[in-house]
């Protein structure tokens, strides 16, 4: 059985992304490691 938690982000890190937004890189795409 494989269950690996890749990511679980907390509420205080607004670094995720949404599907459409190509403008925003703080609230938009998180292009980083």
């Amino acid at each position: 059985m494989v269950v690996i938690v890749l990511e679980q982000r907390g509420d205080t890190k607004p670094a995720g992304c949404i599907i459409y937004c190509s403008l925003c890189f703080i609230y938009g795409r998180d292009s980083g490691a």
Binding site: M1, I4, I18, C21, L23, C24, F25, D30, G32
Partner: protein, 441 residues
């Protein structure tokens, strides 16, 4: 949400916990069928599924919890995101630049007096409970006003020291300005985005200096110096439309050959927004903006997969975290302190919602509040609702359908998520496969 990653593995996204969990196909089958006999309740796998929200008690209404959580976040005093234009002057003359269509742009720098008003507003909010502030320095070209950039960075650092506040400053720059005067800025921001639109000739055609001279060599040399000298994460953005889309693979190859994949934080491919510039049509094969936007969004998925294949990282594509339009205390702010929903609307009367006066925000209509609190009904009855929340306000203002099902369809959306996961976790997945399925984290 389940996303197929490989013949052996699936990734599950749980919006309520903002978690991504890799499972093997057998576990996926057990979860889909609600048959937990194969997952002992005292195992760490079971506990991880519980912790990440993949497993919940029968009586938990996750949709309601997520709606509540999202609304609380949108209305929260704890978070503020500002996109601040330091100047609307720019040394480039990009063919598709949206500034050519924006009536409220008048050619000014952000003055110290105006920054003082923004800072006073931030301090007032800190005293009311603000805990996390992210500031993006924007323009025009923000580094044409370097003293202001440094002042903002220093002021926010002091703020974080004096109060219990986390602050971070990001920089969006065209990459043409790098010298001793701006070195400290690159050292102190947490992330930099530099735009290059393809190989030399392609980029130079699209993003020349105002003089007409190509900017590629200057930017590329600066990029290499910046990643050599500073630890700050630098991501590369490529603005893509039908005029350069066929050259992006070449550009990715070039970056790979120059061994930049481990030195830049990631590659972000973004569609040129339809109708954003005067006398610039971003398509040549599509029939209209609507068709163009869907086509280019899907071609970008192809290219992101290619970039990942070449070893580059790409941005995460799904989260429950709403965009800045939906956050009460988040705005794009121009150098005259006018406020807009997001940078897409900068200098546009359509997206103008108010201004900063002394130490407060003055909203000229209830539109911001409406957008913050109103989630379209489709979002409540949709599989993608938790990560879509009704779509992009900017694209909607252009009349472009924003539903991710229309934009990507399930196939492209799954490919997008798969590319992200592979760009970050290829080795983890390989190890899980190699272990013969005995590994649990």
């Amino acid at each position: 949400m389940f996303f197929n990653i490989s013949p052996n593995f699936t990734v599950i996204y749980n919006a309520l916990h903002d978690s991504l969990v890799l499972v093997d196909k057998e576990t996926e089958r057990s979860l889909r069928e609600g048959n937990l006999a194969n997952i002992p309740s005292d195992s760490k796998e079971f506990k991880n599924l519980l912790r990440t929200g993949v497993l919940v008690e029968d009586n938990v209404d996750e949709d309601s919890l997520l709606q509540k959580k999202r609304l609380e976040l949108s209305l929260s005093h704890k978070y503020m995101g500002l996109w601040l234009s330091l100047t609307n002057k720019c040394n480039l003359a990009c063919k598709y630049c949206y500034q050519s269509t924006r009536a409220l742009m008048e050619g000014e720098d952000l003055s110290p007096e105006r920054w003082h008003k923004v800072y006073s507003y931030i301090i007032r909010k800190v005293k009311e409970g603000l805990k996390v502030i992210t500031m993006t320095l924007y323009g025009g070209e923000p580094l044409l006003n370097p003293s202001m950039a440094l002042r903002i960075i220093k002021d926010l650092d002091l703020l974080a020291q004096e109060f219990d506040v986390v602050s971070g400053v990001g920089l969006i720059t065209n990459g043409t300005v790098y010298n001793d005067d701006v070195g400290e800025i690159f050292e102190r921001v947490f992330q930099v985005q530099i735009t290059i639109d393809g190989p030399r000739e392609v980029h130079n055609e699209r993003r020349p200096f105002k003089s007409g001279e190509g900017s590629f060599d200057v930017i590329f040399n600066n990029l290499v110096k910046i990643i050599d000298r500073h630890k700050t994460r630098v991501s590369l953005r490529v603005n893509v439309d039908e005029h350069n889309v066929d050259y992006v693979e070449d550009f990715i190859n070039m970056l790979a050959e120059l061994r930049l994949r481990d030195r830049i934080a990631g590659i972000d491919l973004s569609p040129v927004q339809p109708d954003q510039a005067v006398r610039y049509v971003p398509f040549k094969t599509s029939k209209n903006y609507y068709e163009y936007y869907i086509n280019i969004s899907r071609k970008i998925v192809d290219l992101l997969e290619y970039a990942v294949e070449k070893g580059f990282k790409i941005g995460r594509v799904i989260t429950w975290w709403p965009c800045m339009c939906k956050l009460k205390q988040s705005y794009a702010v121009d150098e005259k302190l006018n406020l807009y929903y997001c940078p897409g609307f900068m200098y546009s009367p359509v997206g103008y919602i108010g201004y900063i006066s002394q130490d407060d925000v003055v909203l000229v209509s209830a539109a911001k509040e409406r957008i913050v609190t109103n989630i379209p009904s489709c979002a409540y009855n949709c599989k993608l609702g938790p990560v879509c929340y009704g779509g992009c306000v900017y694209l909607e203002s252009l009349g472009i359908p924003v539903c991710p099902y229309i934009l990507y369809g399930e196939e492209y959306l799954e490919r997008l998520v798969r590319a992200y996961v592979l760009s970050r976790y290829r080795e983890v997945i390989a190890r899980a496969g190699d272990s013969g399925g005995r590994q649990g984290y």
